[in-house]
Symmetry: D4
Subunit: 217 residues, 8 copies
């Protein structure tokens, strides 16, 4: 559906079982509101807008009430999904990885996944992640969020047998190359069967986790 | 267990539910045979050796009989797992992606996944992949194997709602940068929730697919 | 012709049949106005200034009236060319590619090409571009504007037989590497005979399209 | 059509007006012969196989007679197209660029384009290319083949008004980065409206030139 | 000599025949003034400060009078050298290369070289540089300042027999990679015997030109 | 001392306390023998030649007897040093890292350090390295040898308080980028105070360990 | 210990002998104060916060008195360690390397190391570093801080026999690639046994120096 | 002049004062001989062929006698120029840099420059280059040949006032990146006014030195 400044894909929900999620950056509050309205009207599922600042979020909510803004995740949600009985553990290496983890958890949650965040268990203090093994193994899937050298993904990948989705973050400086080092490191992890999404893409990891709940009919 | 030239992780199977898979390159036939023997003796599950040439494979099988060599996949397998009732579609962009797809399919199959290979459906002839949508949607998970610009992953990611694991290959020349271009392209796919493994890692994709069958107890 | 702060190439129009187009960034309004005046005086064809902000544009138009400012394309045009009967379809993957597409379309139009913009048909929803195949095939040439993994170029390249000019954009984050990923992907497209211009260069694509109308005498 | 080791796209000729061209590397003589036979049987247009060594070519021709092998271009051709009255000038910077130029010219010729090769006119001796301006301007399109710094594309782009397709080559050493430098240089050419194909892709340039002859119906 | 915030190399002038030139960025006006005073007191030759903004320059001159500020070159000079009878032609590809050329010319001039600036002769209009061949050949050395693809260096290198010092600039966008493309292109120039300095280093080129005037005793 | 084909630094031993170690590649057996003879004659300490194949080693030993060849380390040693009472633990992530570890251990040993090699404790099976904590803590310094994502360095760096020297190896494929990924990962390790040497430089790590034994007089 | 916005590792001091050092960027003054309080309460050793601006530092000190702020090093310190009788020479190539050297020296000093800073001895005036050889040799360890081409590390590495820790800085422009060039150069130094830390990581070098004082019990 | 397989630039000698030098790789002995003959017949100056192996050289000399083959430089020379009274010092960091230095010296010599080679004075033993300062200062120009971190260029640049031409070599491994590290390091040298040529281009440095002898008429 063409609403002048965007072509809204109203069909994705029906066609693919995946909700259309609006990417906030570069869109005006008015444009976001317009797209959200159409999605709420024509679809039945959750409606999300990612990477929205608090000011824009306020303006959008003033026009399209009924939504909720998650400040840490910078996420707007209307009609969050019912819980599907699928648990995701989101685990971070350090405090600076927090915002990406918050986006992953909030998006996953809005799509019906149960989420637990396990914070600050970077491998330089290996006892921290070992102390959380049980919680990690209780999840149906683990999202590992780490910047710098991204080593946490390898350690977690060796501790659980469930799917591990690694999210490199742009945390670090110099040779961290704005997340490229963590990305490359996660792709070459010695822990077999880990998969990777784009740098800082908490959103991508959440969608990948959501896909895990979808099976052939 | 230390067998002189390697420390064999006999515990992974029990500890993590994932089989120990031997990476062939850089190991002599005798060393591979030794490791395989230990794994067969002490563990119960499947034993695999990846990236083995036919000559080495023949020598290993002469010492440790009972295995099977898959020429296309360059894979040795003993005690393949029973089928788990989980279907994986392995789809390739072009003929040159074949060997990587063969490795993905053979490893997945040896671990108990049902696999279908859908060949040569690169997006330059978009009707080819569209003609396979039903088979893609019938799978529990899709592994997309593509080199050059890797665009097939994005198209498939938009056609199915199940997990999509993208494997960039080193197929192509010049600006393909030995697979780096396909890797970057898959990581920045406009299809949400796709995950990516290392270049040419059919093995990694198969293990990631296998993890999808593991759930919290 | 040397006008103190620039050497204006008054001869290009006659010599090469291509208009001299002024690149706005780094030039003051007064300098732009001076150059435009000379070009209007000495040449007969269209005069364009690219990548001009609205403030500068206003100041230039105040000094050199008779031009028109296109806000979306950030383009100033005097004496647009008569239509040449050559149709260009400018197609984008997502809303964020809009400004580059606007520049491509506006420059092409000012040079006498008929342009149609087909928006938001990224390959993650492949039905969108398929729904536009007829419009794409009716054009004499297609300009594909896409960021992230740039896969749209490959799909379009496989759908039409006319020239396809791919413009990678800097849309995306992380592994998108500010457009380099889309650039590399388009260069290694599996669709044969696609050509590529610089990142975000809507201007370059328009000029390349214009060259298509020039033939040996 | 699936012939066991490949899925042959018999429809491209009808669907898109572009011939299916077989990429030789990685295919056995027998496989190539099989694909060529199918294409000759089911289609009417030219059939090409690129990047074939003389030995393989001989074996293929022994099985599928009636073709011609071009040693310099490493190209096999059956049923070359009738000339379309469209002239392409292929111009090279140095002798080492010869093989890429030969591929461009031979493929273009097999598809029905008239081709002229203008050799060794690198810009370090600028009089060489200036001496050829008339021949360049008489062509409907110019393919510039250059390695090292690729500067010839910019000079030619400024001399003609017709389409210029630049092919960077992997000629050079050190900072030439196996063609990446020429590629980047051509993409940032100061000559407006030049387009670029992949490194060493004489084939890609020829197809791009062929597309120039295709217009909306 | 240690003046608290810097160790001033008073000996370079005597030891090496090269003046100590102060790099402005990151230094306060007071610190610059202090260093300049010491150099003026203890040495006899010219004293230069590069990359100084007009405000800082004004403050320094208020404290250390007798110098001159060149706005275009962002250069402060005290005691410029007498002319040495050695002529340098500084030639640029486009207007945006102006500031780097201005630095090269002003530094060279302050060190006693005669400088001529030849502007806007980029190779897309090859007649422009050809029209200046005589002036280029009259110089003892040519400094070529060019961004984007940097092709001017190759053309000039083929036109003169004297030393050519190429300065890549960060002019351009996208694939220009902030000057890296021009740098690589100049290093792989097909014109033999060209030498290259760092991106945007008009200063480095001027010093290299100055060294040309120094010979063994 | 100039011996025709090389200038031998006979003074390093006295001047710097570090032995001159001959880098084998690119030198003929005869040249190596010549250099070794001079070093044995004029100096008193150990003489080493690194990266020598078994054939060359045999030829050198035939001419200069009294040395010993270490096949795994590809190292020739004459007059190994007495043990200095300083213990180095060399720890590897996987079997493929073995040759680099062997070089590190053998060079360190020849220089008088006690060395222990702890093999195959990559972090994907974290219990392996945890089982070795005591041995790691008993060393005066730990050299960590790891390819792929190099995560072992971070884990070890968090387990011991002594100096950790990380050696990235070129083990891995695709995104491992021939060791660059491990190198970058180790440089951005979240374990504070780790230092890094060049890819595959077991030799460099051994020398760095040896320097730890040198203190101001 | 989880204090809501961070998990404080109270155990590192006891477990590893290394103090927990707080990385300032991205943390609010209140958060820093909270973490510092916990560390002061539960641990006995020094507490440091790195990369803090003066305003934040003032706010933290207002809440947690007893600390000292080092403006040049941008470092907050409480309970600095007693001197351990281990001397570190911090040597810089140029004035712009000063802040990184200041961080290295201040952190090292707070951890109980004696530090001397030797400034501005870049190799372009080689007499400067030669004049400091005695002071360099008197140190137990040398930290070399250099940007641009980082050559000082090689020269110093050849002058002393004690450990040399090289810190590349982001000083320089163009081909300096924000410190990557100095990093690569230091890693490939011809002076054997030099080790390297991340770009601009004065902190990392100080910790590496501190580890040198830790020996097996 | 077009001789079938190449267009020989007979005019360069007259036009530019620079000899045409034939680049050997990729040319057959017969082709080289043909080109050399034409150059000997039509021109008066020296004729050189670079990068020729001994077998090819022998074949060429059999057909075109009167030339001389320099094995170390892999250079063929006919009619070497008379000495021009201009002295070049070619200085290397290590033995592995020898072949590049040999090419530089032999080409320079064939063009009439007096050359001295100063070997193995890498900066890790700084006394070596200091011992050669007088010889360096006696030259009219210094060519510095160095791989790895290329630091020798900076030290030499600070010792002499004459032109310094730096040649990075591909000597080194890992982070040396096949010469790219040395190239970047030389471009960002802290020694002002150094210029750089392509990796391993002894030829380029020699030509740059030769240009130093050419002055405006």
């Amino acid at each position: 559906m063409d609403i002048g400044y965007a072509r809204v894909d109203l069909d994705r929900e029906r066609r693919q079982g995946l909700p259309e999620i609006v990417y906030g950056p570069g869109k005006q509050a008015g444009e976001i509101a317009g797209i959200v309205k159409v999605l709420l009207d024509r679809n039945d599922g959750p409606v999300l807008v990612t990477r929205v600042g608090p000011d824009t979020a306020g303006q959008v909510l003033a026009v399209v009430p009924g939504g909720r803004y998650d400040d840490a995740a910078r996420l707007l949600v209307w009609r969050p999904a019912l819980l599907l009985g699928f648990g995701v553990a989101v685990v971070t290496a350090g405090t600076a990885d927090g915002p990406v983890a918050a986006e992953a958890a909030a998006v996953a949650n809005a799509l019906g996944l149960e989420t637990t965040v396990i914070r600050d268990v970077g491998v330089a203090g290996i006892h921290r992640v070992l102390a959380e093994v049980e919680r990690l193994r209780e999840a149906d899937c683990v999202i590992v969020v780490a910047g710098m050298e991204g080593a946490l993904a390898s350690v977690v990948g060796g501790l659980v047998e469930t799917p591990v989705i690694a999210v490199p973050t742009s945390v670090g400086y110099g040779a961290a190359l704005e997340g490229v080092t963590a990305l490359l490191a996660m792709l070459t992890s010695c822990a077999a069967g880990i998969t990777v999404v784009n740098i800082d893409s908490g959103f991508g990891a959440a969608l990948a986790a959501y896909r895990l709940t979808r099976r052939r009919p």
